[in-house]
Symmetry: C2
Subunit: 189 residues, 2 copies
């Protein structure tokens, strides 16, 4: 049975970083079990100054700038390309990572997941898109205002940074999207 | 170990339909085992006149017009929207289907797969796209000439109706695509 939730940006819990360099808002995550922690998590971060990222051993990360002038990441000594808005970049959670802001503060969007537990797919797109997915978990994150989504023909309207979460899909699901979104699809292994 | 093949449109075997209404070119398929037949198949069809489709019981189909004025499908008595180029439409292989051409002959593109054996994902896009996939099978079908694809940074050039096939992916694969393509991703269940 498919379950659909629309998560509103105004409801995301917001937490300051221990090192004072920014804030994280958790959008949603799977149901972590005990000591294992989460299997996947989506979050937004505000990075106010250049500095180090936390290590997440055993996790894969994909980061995308949402607002601001962008950044470059130094990942285990390797400098990334300049990361501008809506340009996804993947790296290992166990890498030593530091962030160099290209200008002022930025806001970014993060998928972090355990590849031993999940297969993941992530893509940004804009404009009008129709697609068919069989993923058991589908997450659609709106990066423009007034994103229109139809799930199997049923319409939903997302404001900026709202997120539609679909769980328990086992068939071939039609998604019609109008606007700029990041689509994340996950399968438990 | 990931295996990559580029299939060229000029090499696709071409077969007339039994009813004389068209031709099919098989692009690629999984290794069917004995009587079970294929688990998935990609093909191109030239439809020269309105008429019935074959039944494929136990299969799911997704069809997209590539060239021509388009068509409408009558699926178990229900008329589809007008299907124009690059607009994917899903239907059950066991439905009774007939095709009404909106104008002259068309060329279309077909995914057919067994949902008991595979989960599938299909999306058309155009322009410049970067995405991350964990699908074990990735098929990238070029619908414009000169499609540029980089798989984990390694470049390939596809002509119109060529198809890149990737098998055995188990990690998070970066794909960068420039041009109009249909991307199909499959997981064995």
């Amino acid at each position: 049975m498919t379950q659909l939730q629309v998560l509103r940006a105004q409801d995301y819990p917001r937490m300051p970083w221990k090192n004072g360099g920014g804030f994280t808002e958790e959008i949603t995550r799977d149901d972590g079990e005990g000591l294992d922690g989460f299997g996947w998590r989506l979050s937004i971060a505000d990075i106010e100054e250049s500095g180090g990222f936390s290590v997440f051993a055993g996790y894969q990360r994909i980061i995308s700038v949402l607002q601001g002038d962008g950044m470059r990441l130094l990942v285990d000594g390797q400098l990334s390309r300049p990361l501008l808005a809506f340009d996804a970049f993947a790296f290992s959670g166990q890498s030593q990572v530091s962030c160099n802001l290209l200008g002022g503060a930025i806001r970014d969007f993060n998928l972090i997941y355990a590849p031993q537990r999940y297969r993941a797919r992530l893509q940004w797109f804009d404009g009008s898109s129709r697609l068919y997915s069989s993923a058991s978990t589908v997450l659609l994150f709106a990066a423009s205002g007034q994103v229109e989504v139809a799930v199997a023909g049923e319409g939903h309207l997302l404001g900026r940074y709202d997120c539609l979460r679909l769980e328990g899909n086992d068939g071939l699901l039609e998604l019609d999207v109008q606007g700029r979104v990041c689509l994340i699809e996950l399968h438990a292994r």
